[in-house]
Every structure is written in C-alpha cells, then in structure tokens.
Symmetry: C2
DNA sequence: ATTGGAAAGTCAACACACCTGACGTAATAA
DNA sequence: TTATTACGTCAGGTGTGTTGACTTTCCAAT
C-alpha cells in the first residue's frame, strides 16, 4: 500500500523517491488532485455563469478585506483587463464592494458584501470538506509533508504571497 | 519554520492540522503550487501556439503508447470535440502518429513521433526539475505525505486512472 | 447479408479566461 | 507644473472547453 521510500547511507545515491518514475507519479498526482480539487466549486460556479476567476477573486478578498486592486492583481498574477471583467460582474451583482481608498484616493479597496461572503463560504466549503477528509485520512505527518513539498515547489514570489497572511486582522 | 502539527490523545479533538486556518492554507498551497508547477511548460508552449491541452495529450500518449482516442478522452475528462482540435494539430505538426487500431480497426491508436517525444521530454523536464528539487528539499518522508494527501483528494475515477499504470510495457 | 450501434471524426456556434496594446481619468508625488 | 501611479475601458486575439447535429467506418448480432 505504502510506497517504499528508502534512503541509503547519508550521501547515498539510490534515493528511490527521486526516481524518474516516482517524479512522474508526482506530476500526475498534481494533475489529478488539482482537477479533483477544483471540480466541486466548478459545478456551483457553472450554475451562475461564473468561473474559477470569480472564485479566486472572492477567496483573496475574503482573506484580506480592503486590499487594493493592485494588490489583488499581484496575488493573482493576471492582467488588470482580465481581473476587471471579473471584478465588474462581482460588483454589479452585489457580491463585492469597491470603496475609494482611505490613504490614497486613487486606490480602490475591495470588500465582500454579505452575499459575497455567503458565496465564498459556499464555494470554499466544498474544497475544505475535501481537504479535511484527505487530511484526516492521511494524518498529521502526511499533511506536514504535503505542505512542505508544495511550498518547496513555489516560486519565491508565490511563497511570499503564500506566507504573507498569518495574523492579519479581518478588518483593517 | 516547521508548523506545529500536534495530536492530543487518541480520539482527541484538538487536531491542529484540521483547523479551518490550516485547511485554508492547504487550499492556497494547492493554488500557488499548481500555478508554479504549470508555469514552466506554459512558457515553452506559448512560443509554439500550443497550450496545456497539448502538453497533457503528449504526456499521456507518452505514458501509454498506442492508447486509443477513447482511452485518452477518458483519462483527460474532456469532450472528443475539444480533444480532437488539439489532436489534429499535433498530428498535422508531426508530433503524434495516429494508426488504425490493430484489434478494432475503428479505433485509432496514438503514438508519439520522434519530435513528439522530444517535445514531451522538453516540457516535462521543466516540471521534473522543479519536482526533483522540491522532493530533495523536503525529503522522503515529506514526499510520502505529499503523495498520500494528493491521492486522498482524488475522486475514485481519477485514483483509478492514477493507479492504472505501474508496469506497462512501452510498446504493446 | 442486413441491420444496429459503437468509435471516430467533423462542422458550427458559443462561453470563459487569459493575453497585448492603446487610451482616458483621477489623484498623488516630484 | 509635470510626471507618475492607480484604475477602468475599448478593441482584438488565442486556447480550451462546452452542446448539438451529422457522417463515415466498422464490428457484431440477428
């Protein structure tokens, strides 16, 4: 059941977990797991003519209420034209509130409305449920390894974004 | 550095790794890691008017040479119209060879040509390099956990596809 | 031998999410 | 005053996915 993961003596060369085949299995694991991971919210989103981009915007606005458009652009890594289309529909539909920046009035600070919060919760709950089950099944040690490997895969920029939010207040 | 992962006595309730915040971090880890994971091949693909769909087709044809269109459709989980557009360009460009099925002459069996093999290798090498580095950094225990959690996240169908290829010959 | 149906391929039309480039407006900073 | 930044928008394009309708090829059962 458990793959044999073995190391020879320190400095050894036969690191079974670095085999080409093991690496290939890692690649496919990423592919299939990510597909499963996005499938649940995709079903909900499709019903309301939204896509993953809407989900991502809701997620990061929820995580850091009051963040500016530029900050959101930065964390998502897309162009402003692309984000704007998504953001406009979310604002029109009353899920996101765009307020003039407090320090700098050029900036727009983004907040979820009540219904925006509700949809974000509904979408992420499906993913949380999946991850919770997977975490429980795999156990704490595996979860630690899961996060270690994923973090080691990230580029520096992404790792920075990933680590950025530890103890932020919910309302600035 | 290392997140505190703790369990109380068996049957305990304070499973820190199942905290809502820990789950959220898991969600973001998936998002950022997958983005990093696909960014390298995306750069290469963009240069040649290809996309991820082309990469995925090349990958699975490489993994299981001679598989039928239906089998590929099944593993990719897309419609035949969608796959066909991709497959047609790959065949036209001489990267994939489509041969009439041996058992059933209605079927098409798919093979990579030499240049197809070369491109698949070029694309996957970027991912393998990233994963190899991440695996080496995180260590064998973490890699085991990484795979355990990802497998636990998959749907049954995907897990079946994922497990399907262990000791297949390269040429049927 | 004819028929039913599966496998494969094709055409059309559409939606979504990304992109580049160019332009305009408002507000801060030099 | 001028330059820069932040934001929004128009236009045009690509890749990937969808439904629906249709034809051709071919195996298999009647």
């Amino acid at each position: 059941m458990q793959d044999k993961i073995a190391m020879t003596a320190p400095g050894g060369e036969a690191l079974l977990f670095l085999t080409d085949d093991q690496i290939r299995r890692g690649i496919e694991a990423m592919y299939f797991a990510y597909r499963a991971f996005t499938s649940d919210p995709d079903l909900i989103l499709a019903e309301m003519d939204y896509g993953r981009a809407h989900h991502r915007a809701l997620h990061f606005i929820h995580r850091d209420p009051g963040l500016t458009v530029t900050a959101l652009l930065d964390v998502l890594g897309v162009t402003k034209q692309s984000l704007n289309r998504v953001l406009r529909t979310l604002i029109e539909d009353g899920l996101v509130d765009s307020r003039v920046g407090r320090r700098d009035r050029r900036e727009r600070q983004l907040y979820l409305t009540d219904s925006g919060t509700a949809l974000e919760r509904k979408l992420s709950e499906t993913q949380r449920a999946r991850l919770r089950t997977a975490f429980r099944t795999a156990g704490p040690q595996a979860v630690a390894g899961f996060r270690q490997v994923l973090e080691a895969m990230m580029d520096r920029d992404m790792l920075r974004q990933y680590r950025a939010f530890r103890d932020l207040p919910d309302t600035p």
